[in-house]
């Protein structure tokens, strides 16, 4: 079985990686650009492709200057400072009169799209899209999930989304990590099942006094942790999922979740889990622990793995952190890890205060990112300036990027608009160029073995609630999520046991769990009917 699994993994991996590296089939830009226009627009940018932090103005940022030159549109950039709180900044901007012409952001722009359209914050793009944004139109219709994510229940398209070329690889950027040097020293194999995990944790604890650790904000996120191995769909943050019959359910009301919690409690009681776990509020705290050698099996992100490895190199004590596949159940059940549809939660819209005459120009400008040429520009910059093809015909960054004194990640951000969130399609290749091999390897291990089970259960992005539903849902959800995260903490530390389960489920019911599921079920069905 094991052999078969690893073979399957290998096949899946090869299939996935080859398909991931082929450039997507995009609409040709032809000679449409630069546009022949003298229109000037204002573009408000929330989280996402803001000018890199080192630049004081957009005029210094190569990406932002180049975009104007390539599309021929004069853009007056406005962006939210890097340290600002997104939802506050967005709401403040919404009170402006008139609104900026183009608005890009996350928060609730997508989930509340219908209401924003009604209020005139953004316009309905349906009448214009096919004519003025053919490339985006083609992309949207290359996958039903794409089109559905950016239209309302009554079928109106409202904006330009952010997509990941591979459809999910980098959506699973968190996962388990292990110290390979300790595994080798103890003569252990990389743990696969939960029982293997218990074994490795026990050995590491006896030999090195080490425990399992994680930054709590990552560990608590939706569907993460090792919950999948138990057939559970969530960790500490309230998470809704679709069961086999297409019904919306809450992970933390299922017995599988209790089993997961009981296993964590068992490890906790045996001292195998970092006793500060819930108080590890940041990556920094975990990083310090890892550097101090107090953990050999942990849970964190691709980015953190790079940091940990850099720390270890500097310390020179031979710590070798590598990625580890998500654990499976003892019967081989694969983890339903958090992954996704490869659709971002941000959107770029045209505001209701925009001059009617500007709309076609803006649409064509935004459409650029979804053309073959624009795709390359949004990911790598201008060919010959920041990137070029290597001998194999694949894109690589030029020394101006790779040797930038600000470091590779910051340098890529200067030339690319899709490093983590933008208004276009993120190339998987960009992620390969951006991350070090160990992190890429880790992400491969997190994603490919579980790919088949990683996204079908997720509520697709773009489901929208009506105004009344949204108010009621928020109210129920906020109470329930507090109860859930507290119960999670209590179950892990043993303050609550399996005996308290029924009482907890009763509390969930009295808080309106059934109503919350009903609301979301209705929204999901409306989504399906789009």
């Amino acid at each position: 079985m094991k052999k078969f699994l690893s073979l399957l993994v290998a096949v899946l991996f090869i299939a996935a990686s080859t398909s991931a590296l082929a450039a997507p089939d995009l609409y040709p830009a032809g000679d449409r650009y630069p546009l022949d226009t003298d229109v000037s627009i204002t573009w408000w940018v929330g989280e996402g492709f803001r000018p890199a932090e080192v630049f004081a103005t957009a005029d210094e940022s190569p990406f932002h200057v180049n975009l104007q030159q390539l599309t021929g549109v004069n853009i007056d950039w406005r962006w939210v400072p890097h340290e600002a709180e997104q939802s506050q900044a967005l709401n403040l901007m919404l009170t402006e009169n008139p609104l900026p012409d183009v608005i890009f952001g996350g928060v609730n722009l997508v989930s509340d799209a219908a209401r924003y359209m009604e209020e005139g914050v953004f316009i309905d793009l349906t009448p214009y899209l096919e004519e003025h944004a053919p490339a985006y139109w083609q992309w949207l219709h290359s996958n039903p999930a794409y089109a559905n994510a950016f239209k309302t229940d009554d079928g109106k398209f409202f904006g330009f989304g952010f997509f990941r070329e591979d459809g999910g690889w980098n959506d699973s950027f968190n996962g388990p990590l292990v110290r390979q040097d300790w595994l080798d020293e103890c003569g252990l194999e990389a743990p696969v099942t939960i029982s293997d995990w218990t074994n490795v944790l026990t050995v590491f604890n006896e030999k090195y006094g080490a425990t399992f650790t994680a930054p709590w904000p990552r560990f608590r996120q939706m569907g993460s942790g090792m919950s999948g191995a138990f057939g559970a769909y969530g960790s500490s943050d309230l998470s809704l999922y679709l069961d086999g019959d297409g019904k919306v359910q809450m992970a933390q009301a299922q017995p599988e979740w209790l089993n997961y919690m009981l296993q964590l409690n068992e490890w906790w009681a045996a001292g195998l889990i970092d006793q500060d776990l819930l108080a590890n509020q940041s990556d920094t705290e975990t990083r310090a622990k890892v550097l101090a050698g107090s953990s050999g099996l942990a849970y964190s992100s691709m980015g953190q793995l790079s940091n940990w490895r850099a720390d270890a190199d500097q310390a020179g004590e031979g710590a070798n952190w590598v990625g580890l596949q998500y654990p499976t159940g003892d019967d081989g059940t694969l983890s339903m890890i958090f992954g996704g549809y490869g659709i971002g939660s941000t959107v770029c819209v045209i505001s209701g205060d925009t001059d009617e005459a500007k709309i076609p120009v803006i649409l064509q400008m935004l459409d650029y990112a979804y053309t073959d040429e624009g795709f390359l520009f949004w990911n790598y910059g201008v060919q010959g300036e920041s990137w070029d093809y290597d001998a194999n015909g694949e894109a690589i960054y030029l020394p101006i990027v790779t040797e930038d004194p600000d470091g590779l990640n910051n340098a890529i951000e200067k030339y690319s608009g899709t490093t983590w969130n933008g208004c276009g399609i993120q190339a998987t290749r960009l992620l390969y160029l951006k991350n070090n091999p160990a992190s890429i390897e880790a992400n491969n291990l997190w994603f490919y073995p579980n790919e088949a089970v990683s996204s079908y259960w997720r509520l697709p992005p773009g489901i929208t609630l009506t105004a009344d539903e949204s108010t009621e849902n928020d109210f129920i959800r906020s109470s329930i999520s507090t109860l859930v995260s507290e119960t999670c903490a209590k179950l892990i530390t043993g303050e609550m046991t399996a005996a308290d389960w029924d009482e907890y489920v009763g509390q969930l019911e009295s808080l309106g769990l059934a109503r919350m599921l009903e609301i979301n079920q209705a929204a999901y069905e409306r989504y399906l009917a789009r």
Binding site: L94, D274, S479, S485, A489, K490
Partner: protein, 324 residues
């Protein structure tokens, strides 16, 4: 026969028989003190613009505020937000926690700087006195973020506090994940940060007590303890009362920054207060409800005002010193 009305001893003619309207009084006063009025004007404008105008925004507590529609354009919803808040299952808990933390803070945190000031006042060695003063008010200048980071590190499973506990035969634990330790950590660290700074005002009040009173007390045979009891404390009382009334007026204002920096799911049961709840619900939530947050804020202010008025009234009855 005409009798001239009695005149005030100093200043302008004053007619007690004829009541003047407030406008007339101000007009007359203005003529005499033109420039002083001009000097006050900027302050009045400041208060009107930055304190009273924003208050009109409170009306969104009764509306479903949408940023695009603005305060005037948003829909009226009456008392819905208040009903929701009072029906919230966490209402009792967050109210209880808010009062607990605030009252514990007052109970231990309020007398601490008074004690420190009294003790410092008795110290005769000036060099020592000054160094103690400086050392105690230094923590006040540490940023809250840094102070909380220190607390978090010391409270870890293998942190300073655990090691001290182990040395005395206790067990290791992460104190911030222990519900019972949350209040002591909060209150003690609060005292540590504030004691020196808050004692400054008392030290200033102490220096204004007439030295002759001490002399008289000594002649009457009072020892130092009796001097504190019968001269120093009564001299300090008005200051203490005013600060106490002001403190009671913010009984529901528990600083949420510190709690957010220190709490976790493991301690929500004792640490989740109105302001942290409001922050999670109204500010950082994906669909922030400004109206709901405003309603809670308004409730907060009403309770605070009530406390202020009640304690002001009590203080007036008991000690004759009050705010107004």
């Amino acid at each position: 026969m005409t009798t001239s009305p009695p005149r005030a001893k100093f200043g302008s003619p004053y007619n007690p028989y004829k009541r003047k309207s407030i406008g007339q009084i101000i007009a007359r006063d203005y003529k005499q003190n033109k420039y002083k009025y001009l000097m006050v004007l900027p302050v009045l404008v400041f208060i009107a613009v930055f304190a009273y105008t924003p208050m009109t925004g409170l009306v969104i507590a009764f509306k479903e505020f949408r940023p695009r529609l603005g305060i005037a354009g948003s829909k009226w919803v009456g008392l819905t937000h208040f009903e929701n808040f009072f029906n919230d299952i966490f209402f009792v808990r967050i109210l209880r926690n808010t009062f607990s933390i605030s009252l514990l803070n007052i109970l231990f945190g309020f007398p601490a700087p008074i004690l420190l000031a009294l003790l410092l006042n008795e110290v005769r060695n000036n060099k020592f006195k000054r160094s103690v003063q400086t050392i105690t008010y230094m923590p006040y200048f540490i940023s809250l973020i840094v102070a909380c980071a220190l607390i978090r590190v010391y409270s870890q499973n293998n942190g300073l506090f655990s090691q001290i506990a182990v040395a005395f035969g206790g067990t290791r634990q992460n104190l911030l994940m222990n519900k019972n330790a949350f209040y002591p950590i909060y209150v003690i660290s609060e005292i540590w940060q504030q004691i020196g700074w808050n004692s400054i005002i008392y030290l200033a009040a102490l220096s204004s007590i007439d030295q002759e009173q001490y002399e008289a007390a000594r002649i009457d045979g009072a020892n130092r303890f009796k001097q504190i009891l019968y001269v120093t404390l009564p001299g300090l009382l008005p200051t203490i009362m005013i600060l106490f009334i002001l403190r009671m007026g913010s009984v529901l204002n528990v600083g949420f920054e510190k709690i957010i920096l220190l709490y976790s799911e493991a301690t929500y049961e004792v640490s989740d207060v109105i302001s942290t709840y409001l922050y999670r619900r109204g500010i950082v939530a994906e669909n922030p409800s400004f109206s709901y947050a405003t309603a809670i804020g308004l409730f907060n202010s009403v309770v605070n005002l009530t406390f202020l008025l009640v304690f002001n009234w009590l203080a007036k009855k008991a000690t004759k010193s009050s705010l107004f």
